[in-house]
């Protein structure tokens, strides 16, 4: 029975594992594919783009060094994200008391970030509106706890499923949902307040 289960598991997992292992072996491709999203997650988690670059780099190094230990029971994205989460957590522990003060000194300028928006079909007015809303959300994110902020970013910017977030954070699904509800409620409230202020 156990053998049968093992065989079935192998049958279902081998192609994915082979695919992911080959994916992990090609470090350049791995970096090209996953760096933008990891960089975004780390940068908006800690608020410092330069430090985020360094952490993202470390994340890929850790993944590369530990690729043998990747079992293929989750996606590469989830695996890399969990490594990034741990590195962000370590960083936050290191700078526990002076973290945000320092982060603000080199914080991401969302206005500057908005200049990277593809011009496409959007008018300058709509781009300004997007920029303003993005700045409101960014400001609201700084008021969240690190855990809530991470979960918010994983769900909305990384578009990870709740189960994936739970796996990456090693947290029960319901706990993730609770954090997400609180984070969203807080962000929405702060954005609403900012909009009311700007209307006055």
């Amino acid at each position: 029975m156990q053998l049968a289960l093992h065989a079935t598991a192998n049958m279902t997992h081998v192609p994915a594992a082979e695919r992911t292992l080959s994916e992990l072996d090609d470090i350049d491709m791995l970096v090209r594919t996953y760096r933008p999203r990891l960089l975004r997650f780390v940068a908006f988690s800690i608020g410092d783009p330069d430090l985020a670059e360094s952490i993202t780099q470390d994340c890929f190094l850790k993944a590369w060094n530990g690729r043998e230990s990747f079992r293929g029971d989750c996606s590469v994205n989830t695996w890399l994200t969990s490594i990034a989460i741990n590195l962000v957590r370590d960083q936050q522990r290191l700078q526990k008391f002076r973290f945000w003060r320092q982060a603000r000194a080199t914080a991401i300028d969302i206005t500057d970030a908005a200049t990277y928006l593809p011009s496409g079909e959007s008018s300058p007015e709509s781009r300004l509106l997007v920029q303003e809303k993005a700045a409101q959300v960014q400001a609201a994110l700084t008021g969240l706890s690190p855990k809530q902020r991470s979960i918010f970013l994983l769900r909305f910017t990384e578009e990870m499923e709740i189960a994936e977030i739970a796996a990456a954070l090693r947290m029960p699904v319901n706990t993730v949902k609770t954090h997400l509800h609180r984070a969203l409620k807080s962000v929405r409230a702060q954005v609403q307040q900012a909009q009311q202020r700007s209307e006055i």
Binding site: I27, D28, V31, R32, R35, P36, R37, L39, R40, A43, F44, P49, E53, Q57, F60, L61, W64, N65, I108, I110, A113, A114, Y116, L117, P118, L129, V130, Q131, E132, K133, A134, Q136, V137, Q138, R155, F156, T157, E161, I162, K177, L180, H181, L184, K185, V187, R188, V191
Partner: protein, 185 residues
């Protein structure tokens, strides 16, 4: 479900856990759809901006640094390989005197002065001086001795080249300690 969505249900929808009955209402209700759109717009804007930022920022970062650092894992292995490669090179020069860099005319012309007798091919002098005691040395010790000997010879060659009157004169300099310190035109 006839009631409009509550704020919590709007959050549920944004999170992706809205109940089917509420989802049905949302699909049919323009008012709730507008509220959901208004709630989602700031987040969508934030996602768009951060996405554009990270794509651009990531594109400006080098790939090689990661690749190079990744090899850092096998640092010890690489150091060993480097030492082995150096040993092979040294042994090659020792066995084939014609391949010695010091015996190559192109290399010899790189020195500022004519190469003195001490700069003759290293391997020849070393092989000539190799006595029965040196043959008993291990390859590593022999390699180290050869390297030290070669470095010493090179330093001697440089010293002697710098000490000659010709080289000083050719550079328009006077020997140190000379009473005349005027620069030549």
């Amino acid at each position: 479900m006839s009631l409009h969505l509550s704020n919590d249900q709007i959050d549920d929808h944004l999170i992706g856990v809205l109940e089917p009955a509420a989802a049905e209402h949302l699909a049919a209700c323009a008012d709730c759809t507008a509220r959901v759109a208004a709630a989602a717009a700031p987040i969508a804007g934030f996602v768009a901006v951060t996405n554009a930022w990270s794509e651009r920022r990531s594109a400006t970062l080098p790939l090689l640094s990661v690749t190079g650092n990744a090899a850092h894992r096998n640092f010890a292995l690489r150091v060993t390989a480097g030492v082995a490669a150096t040993a092979i090179l040294v042994l090659t020069f020792a066995v084939h005197p014609a391949m010695s860099p010091l015996s190559h005319p192109a290399v010899a012309t790189q020195t500022t002065a004519p190469a003195p007798a001490t700069a003759q091919p290293l391997a020849l002098t070393e092989l000539a001086s190799t006595g029965p005691t040196e043959t008993a040395l291990s390859p590593r010790e022999r390699m180290l001795r050869e390297r030290i000997s070669r470095d010493n010879q090179m330093l001697k060659a440089i010293d002697s080249a710098l000490d000659t009157e010709e080289s000083a004169a050719s550079l328009g300099l006077e020997p140190a300690g000379s009473s005349s310190t005027k620069l030549q035109d």
